[in-house]
Symmetry: C2
């Protein structure tokens, strides 16, 4: 008997799950129907800033697998088709063809929910004016690119100084705009501790990007032509020919909520380790619509990142296809850049540690990416948190130039393994003058952390 | 009562030990006398190829701390003074001032042996001819640089295709020489498996470096002026205006041997985890003169690397100074480059695994350093070994361009933690298009290794 798998969402998590399930089960065993309300499947949303900035020439380079390619693998991917209801009792989904308006029910034996995230668009006056753009999907990216061409002048305002905000600042700078980033918090990159965020702030200043902290937007004013003209904040008014919103996302779980599926404190779906929705034997969920276990804090978090979505899809597809795989959780690794400034973090920030009752020490060191005497050696600052008494590594943040970001992987693996900072000082990391000082910056931080743990008693 | 610490060897391990001991104990508690037979203290031997090649402008940039700086920290560092005998019964060392010839005995309460390694200089006819150079220390580097100026033509031959050999090939290329590397083995970089060495070979060809495998040198012929002219091998004769020997090193342990201290199969001193020489309560040893425990194979190895020497010194100094530290061992990480080709390895090669009775699977994948669509994405090849049945990671080798080498650190930490390749597939590594594909190349290899372990049964 052929079972039917229905997948809601045609991007990373959903289509990875479909593809992996198809690898394990042929069309005679498993029929796969996938619904995607947008125009594109399996694309890299993370690549949008680089397309907007001109580093990536064409939109289609961001598409990993087109609908036709999925269909050639016997996945019935229905584009521009939105799932509007979930009927768990009768195991079916209701969908609407967004072109024709036609609706229908499709039954399922197994269901994958990969509905992603939706942007947090604050309900401000003027937020929907022409010239104000989100950068959530490829259509958004194209609209923004078109808008850049229409802009009267070259003043761009980015709202929000998180990953998307700083990446879009680079992109707009690359397009010749004068860029102002307006930030609700005091320092950019709230995913870092404020002392590390301050380094990002200073570096952005150096790149010619104006970053204004503590400036929540109150309204967006338009000109006579209806296009955006000024962004007003509690801190002042900023002229703008184009505005990009990098104000975060929340899990897109309205269907799941209506169907009574379990959601966490961040409104993300809750799953078990096999990515099965808790309490539901034949429903899986993955990607930006779920919460994941943070292995360091022991709490669920919402971490919308393509790399997790792909892993979730892989795990779901294996389990749906009769194999076995789990997603144990995350340690909170993220890397980013603004021009030549690299920004990385993993594990807990100070406030995360406090929130779960952990006592900790912190150390901050400066070192270089290569031997000090080797050409191109670039400064980096490494901050490390270790648990008081046990010395267990809790988190690392790195801000620097070339070679800074991916060094955080050392700490990501050490966190996963539950290493102490003392154990880290003995790590046998790659050393040669073009690649590292004789003590890698992460080891320098670990050595100082050992001393701090001892001193804290 | 003031104790006296005697340190034999004024480079990385010895002077790190002395400096760390001094941090913990002032001159009123601990007198420190250090002997160095050369002209330089605490220098980066690993940096010599880059000085010879011109990336590093001046010799003194390679000196981390001069004799005067050590002396300013109350370390009685005696340069150009060779220790000629070790009298363990009477706890004293005999030294000779190489300038004046004066000899004397110096008593010790604690002793650190950091005598380093000496080059393996095969006893071939002509090996001592002018124009034939080792690159072991700064004097060698200066002699080679002088010799490059004196060379009649621009043909350089490098004997040996290990780390030093390939790095010197780059350096000589940088100085405008036509470079031939003569290698005893079939492929360069015997620290890699031959299939990965083949990639290095091909890349060196592409860089214009001729690499001749299976060509052990039989003699070196000189011209009428006495300078080197031709290198003869079993495979043929190669004209040479200058010759650089990269034929490896062995532990310099003649003093230790004469004193009856325990040596291993590679002639390196054997220590316990605190770097104390086995069976000797007041003698420590570290750096290139010791053998270290390979944590993956469980065997002792000789791994002459500055990064280990510095760690040894740190551990020894802590213990000598009344603190406590250990050096648990290595996993065999090494990184190198030839021009823009990056080469990295950690853990066991296939023959290492076989030698200790491990059954394993191997996988090799190609991926890129950045998202495929991001400018500068460079190909890399990752080979991974995992134990049969358990799936425990045994080793990783990487050959590629920018961003390849330091990725090996992910595997180095995973090896230290004893991770399986299955656990590795869930690692939360830094992802953003400028830094990695959505699946980091190491994760792509791990996924393939999981399948290979399963298939091997």
């Amino acid at each position: 008997m052929t079972e039917r798998l229905v997948v809601i969402g045609g991007d990373a998590a959903g289509m990875s799950a479909a593809s992996q399930a198809r690898r394990l089960k042929g069309p005679g065993e498993l029929e796969i129907v996938a619904f995607e309300r947008g125009h594109f499947s399996s694309y890299s949303a993370c690549g949008i800033p680089y397309w907007v900035g001109g580093d990536v020439a064409a939109r289609d380079e961001l598409i990993a697998r087109s609908p036709e390619e999925h269909r050639a693998r016997d996945i019935d991917l229905r584009m521009r088709t939105e799932v509007t209801a979930l009927d768990l009792d009768r195991q079916r989904v209701r969908s609407r063809d967004l072109e024709s308006g036609a609706e229908e029910w499709t039954g399922f034996d197994k269901l994958v929910i990969a509905t992603g995230a939706r942007p947090l668009r604050p309900p401000l006056p003027g937020i929907d004016a022409p010239g104000v753009h989100g950068v959530q999907n490829l259509d958004d990216g194209q609209a923004l690119l078109d808008s850049l061409g229409l802009a009267r002048g070259r003043r761009a305002v980015v709202v929000g100084a998180g990953y998307i905000g700083v990446e879009m600042a680079e992109a707009l700078l690359g397009r010749g705009f004068e860029v102002t980033v307006l930030n609700r918090g005091e320092q950019p990159m709230a995913t870092l501790d404020p002392d590390m965020g301050r380094l990002v702030h200073a570096a952005m200043d150096g790149l010619g990007i104006t970053t204004v902290g503590s400036s929540p937007v109150t309204k967006i004013l338009t000109g006579a032509d209806g296009r955006v003209r000024v962004v007003a904040t509690e801190a002042g008014e900023y002229p703008a020919d184009v505005v990009v919103l990098g104000t975060g996302v929340v899990p897109e779980t309205s269907l799941a909520r209506a169907a009574g599926l379990p959601l966490g404190v961040y409104d993300g779906l809750l799953t078990d380790l096999s990515m099965r929705v808790r309490g539901h034997g034949n429903i899986w969920a993955g990607g930006d619509c779920v919460e994941v276990l943070d292995l360091v804090s022991g709490r669920e978090r919402h971490v919308p990142l393509g790399t997790h979505a792909n892993k979730h899809g892989q795990v779901i597809g294996s389990n749906v296809g009769g194999g076995y795989a789990t997603f144990p959780g995350v340690v909170g690794t993220a890397v980013s850049k603004v021009c030549d400034l690299e920004i990385a973090r993993t594990g807990l920030r100070e406030k995360d540690a406090r929130a779960v009752g952990l006592q900790y020490v912190t150390v901050t060191i400066e070192s270089t990416s290569r031997a000090g005497y080797y050409p191109g050696a670039a400064l980096m600052t490494v901050k490390m948190l270790a648990e008081r008494r046990t010395g267990r590594l809790l988190g690392v943040q790195i801000v620097g130039r070339e070679g800074a970001a991916k060094r955080v992987d050392i700490a990501a693996v050490a966190l996963t393994a539950g290493m102490t900072v003392e154990a880290m000082t003995a790590l046998d990391l790659g050393y040669a003058p073009p690649f590292s000082p004789v003590w890698d910056p992460v080891l320098v931080a670990a050595r100082k952390a050992v001393a701090a743990v001892r001193a804290a008693g």
